[in-house]
């Protein structure tokens, strides 16, 4: 372009000082990003470094036995307990959460009451999980509802409270992405509202709904505080949801506080297991999101 009479090169040069500021600031933003990524790398490195060594057949097939000396046992009951509680919480939170989200997008829309619900759901996402644990403790554990104090199903309810706002808000986002043309076309063909919802809206947004739900499950799986107040802990494997139960987060929490190094080593192994489960759920959720037809 230099041949042009009114060439752009006539513009004043950027001064050295401005150039330097630009370089320095760009570099510091890069440094900030690197700093932000360091903790993740370090945590995963130490989890593998300290946790992988504890993984063996025995670790996954025996229950902790409470022995301080000798063989401490593995984490079987903790894994199974976490899965039981999270499954129960998912069975309640996902249908209820998607239900509320459907109500918000299909019926409530911009009404004052829908805005109120939306607002409180948002506020719920900011409530510390320990407070949810206290809620359930006060309402269900002190009163010995169901005949026992601490119980797995009560923990599942606390986790449900925690998952609900995440499911509702993520589901609402994907439901809003369903084009209105689709709804109108179905209604024009004479489909009743409920069939429009079950046959058009929900299937169209299915992958997005699964993504949001999986992320909520991953969130609920790692929570410790609500379980401390509602499920407490146990050693043995149990399928009875009305008793105390062992879970991965609570076992890790208890093992950390042990003065015995080999019990602390079990905490690392259990933490690696927990993080692996949570990360797998996250990655699956994101892969599904990427294949989604919407957004």
């Amino acid at each position: 372009m230099s041949s042009g009479g009114m060439s752009l090169s006539r513009l004043p040069e950027i001064s050295a000082r401005r150039r330097r500021t630009d370089k320095v600031m760009r570099a510091s933003l890069l440094v900030g990003t690197v700093i932000a990524l360091i903790p993740l790398v370090l945590i995963i490195y130490y989890l593998i470094y300290k946790g992988l060594g504890t993984w063996n057949k025995n670790f996954f097939t025996t229950d902790p036995n409470g022995n301080f000396f000798g063989n401490h046992g593995g984490i079987r009951s903790a894994i199974v307990g976490t899965l039981e509680i999270v499954c129960l919480a998912t069975l309640i939170a996902v249908p209820a959460g998607i239900g509320v989200a459907v109500w918000l997008t299909e019926y409530g829309k911009q009404s004052w009451f829908a805005s109120l619900v939306r607002y409180f759901v948002d506020v719920m996402t900011g409530v510390p999980s320990i407070v949810f644990g206290l809620f359930i403790y006060i309402v269900l554990v002190i009163s010995h509802t169901g005949g026992s104090g601490f119980a797995a199903w009560k923990g599942a309810l606390a986790v449900t409270l925690l998952m609900l706002p995440i499911v509702i808000r993520s589901a609402e986002v994907v439901l809003l992405l369903v084009p209105n043309n689709l709804r109108e076309a179905a209604l024009a063909l004479g489909a009743p509202r409920w069939r429009v919802i079950t046959r058009v809206v929900l299937p169209t947004s299915l992958s997005g709904l699964i993504t949001g739900s999986l992320l909520a499950v991953a969130r609920g799986m790692g929570e410790t505080a609500p379980l401390l107040f509602t499920v407490s802990t146990a050693f043995v494997l149990t399928g009875n949801l009305n008793t105390q139960m062992n879970t991965l987060p609570v076992q890790i929490y208890n093992d950390i506080k042990s003065p015995e190094p080999s019990i602390v080593a079990r905490a690392w192994g259990a933490a690696l297991t927990l993080v692996a489960l949570v990360l797998i759920l996250n990655v699956i959720a994101r892969l599904i999101a990427r294949r989604s037809r919407l957004g």
């Binding site: 600031m25 993740l40 900011g126 993520s170 409920w194 933490a271």
Partner: protein, 350 residues
Amino acid sequence: MEASATTVRGDRSVLERSPLGRLPDRLLKWGLTALAVLILLLIAYFFIRLIGESTTSINTFGLSFLFRNDWDASRNIYHGAALVIGTLVTSGIALMIGVPVAVAAALFLTELCPRRARPALGMLVDLLAAVPSVVYGLWGVFVLGPKLEPVERWFANTFSFIPWIGGGASAITPGNYFIAGLILAIMILPIVSAISREVIATVPSENKEAALALGATRWEMIRMAVLPYARPGITGGAMLGLGRAIGETIAVVLVIGDAPTLGHHIFSQGYTLASVIANEFGEAANVKIHASALFEAGLVLFILTLIINVIARWFVNRGARSMRAARGGSAAPGGDVMVAAQAAGVGGAE
């Protein structure tokens, strides 16, 4: 047209659904409405019960629960100023370290990073939110704490003249406010960064291009076109991070040292509102006044996080609104920035 419609029994057009046919529709509508109402009522009920369980403590200690420093389970005196201050100090440290890093990462990822690397890098930052807080605690106790101790020692010695920061190496305890704040900084990074990224992404590209066309460098473009627009949203994101930091329990209880005293500087042990509940809950179960004091700590925590969240949402929504106005009123699909961040999997704190 009304004449042509054939009617069946009950004076209803054939085109209309029978009352029975309309039933599922009504059931679904009212069932879902009831569900939404139920969730609101449940939260209200829980809140009232929490106040109810706290009354013993509220009546006994009154306002000195918050403002006097004397927490002693053996004498059943629960004045929790040390807990409130511990909560504020650790969250303050978390914001001071976490927010600049999170915003820098957000700016880099939205404005400077090569387009192809963005999703992967963004996902890596988001994954920090997926690490359970007990794992942060484990890492903090056995890796970060011991590794940082020499640094803290050096820092406390070198800057011992600054009040609250350096008290001399002798006063350093393995669990302390600073480590707790640092762990919290890492834990709030993903949410602050995710919301900042969403907000920055909504800055109109016309403004950025205009700045560049006028000869601004990249950084000047960020400073003059991006940051002024994104400031309310970033402030809101930081406040949401603050809410997270205040409510975080398990990671903090493991690294703060758990002493119900007021530390004299940032390297001394302490307590927070959330961590005291987790730690003393077992022994308190049979002492009514102790349990009630812990419930009151939970109540304070709940109200504190509610207020912070309300303010944060106001900031974020104000930012989103002004952005929409700047775009000529066309609402962005999905509208709410918060929602997008939550959909990114950055929800909940422990």
